[in-house]
């Protein structure tokens, strides 16, 4: 399950989607809008997204995780639009037979999502706003034209 939505995210639905009978552990990550960043008071966030490519890159992250860790399932939900303090922007769930793989794979997946999925956040403060520049995605060397 890989989805981009403007609505509130449903963790129960995602967890149900990644669980298998052989899953003994599920690690679920919540990215949450917090009230402060770099010493500035955040009022709310606004997310922009390139939806088709974001879904494609989420799937690429999932393939990378499957290739690296012994997991039984993975899913990602990302919310876009305006989000208030305390609301959940990102959910990543990973199931595995054992807990170490679930934790490590989930952490890796969140890191990779922040590196390559085309989503952007704007912080809105009391006295201004800024689109946050996070990671510049790696570009493959010369491709066939």
């Amino acid at each position: 399950m890989f989805e981009i939505t403007a609505d509130a995210l449903d963790p129960a639905r995602l967890v149900a989607a990644v669980g298998r009978d052989e899953s003994g552990a599920i690690a679920l990550f919540y990215g949450v809008v917090r009230n402060e960043n770099m010493g500035r008071n955040v009022r709310y966030l606004e997310y922009d997204v390139y939806p088709e490519m974001a879904i494609k890159k989420m799937r690429q992250v999932a393939e990378e995780v499957h290739a690296t860790y012994a997991i039984t399932g993975i899913g990602v939900l990302h919310r876009v639009g305006r989000l208030e303090i305390g609301e959940t922007s990102l959910l990543v769930a990973v199931s595995s037979a054992h807990r170490a793989a679930a934790f490590e794979a989930c952490h890796f997946a969140v890191d990779r999502i922040k590196q390559i999925v085309p989503i952007w956040k704007k912080e809105v403060w009391d006295d201004g706003e800024e689109w946050i520049e996070g990671h510049r995605p790696d570009v493959p060397p010369r491709t066939s034209a």
Binding site: V49, Y50, S89, I116, K121, V139, P140
Partner: protein, 82 residues
């Protein structure tokens, strides 16, 4: 001449006020040429160019990538999802 359909996001989208632009480029033009032309036509974009990455067909591509007529080119500033 070929036409590239350019899509803007985040700060670029807000700055230029458009989601989509059409750009005319010579036959065989590369991403690098598109970036240069973008900087000439929209001087406001120049500050973004050093960190901007381009995607064609929903894949990141290098500057040498050759464009074809009708290609969709997404201008991707550093991402900050999560």
């Amino acid at each position: 001449m070929i036409t590239a359909n350019v899509r803007l996001f985040a700060g670029l989208h807000q700055l230029i006020g458009e989601r989509d632009l059409e750009m005319q480029l010579p036959e065989g033009a590369t991403i690098e040429q598109l970036r240069n032309k973008l900087g000439e036509e929209y001087p406001l974009v120049q500050a973004f160019l050093p960190t901007l990455v381009c995607a064609v067909g929903e894949e990141y591509v290098p500057g040498e990538h050759v464009l074809h007529d009708g290609d969709h080119v997404a201008l991707i500033p550093p991402v900050s999802g999560g």
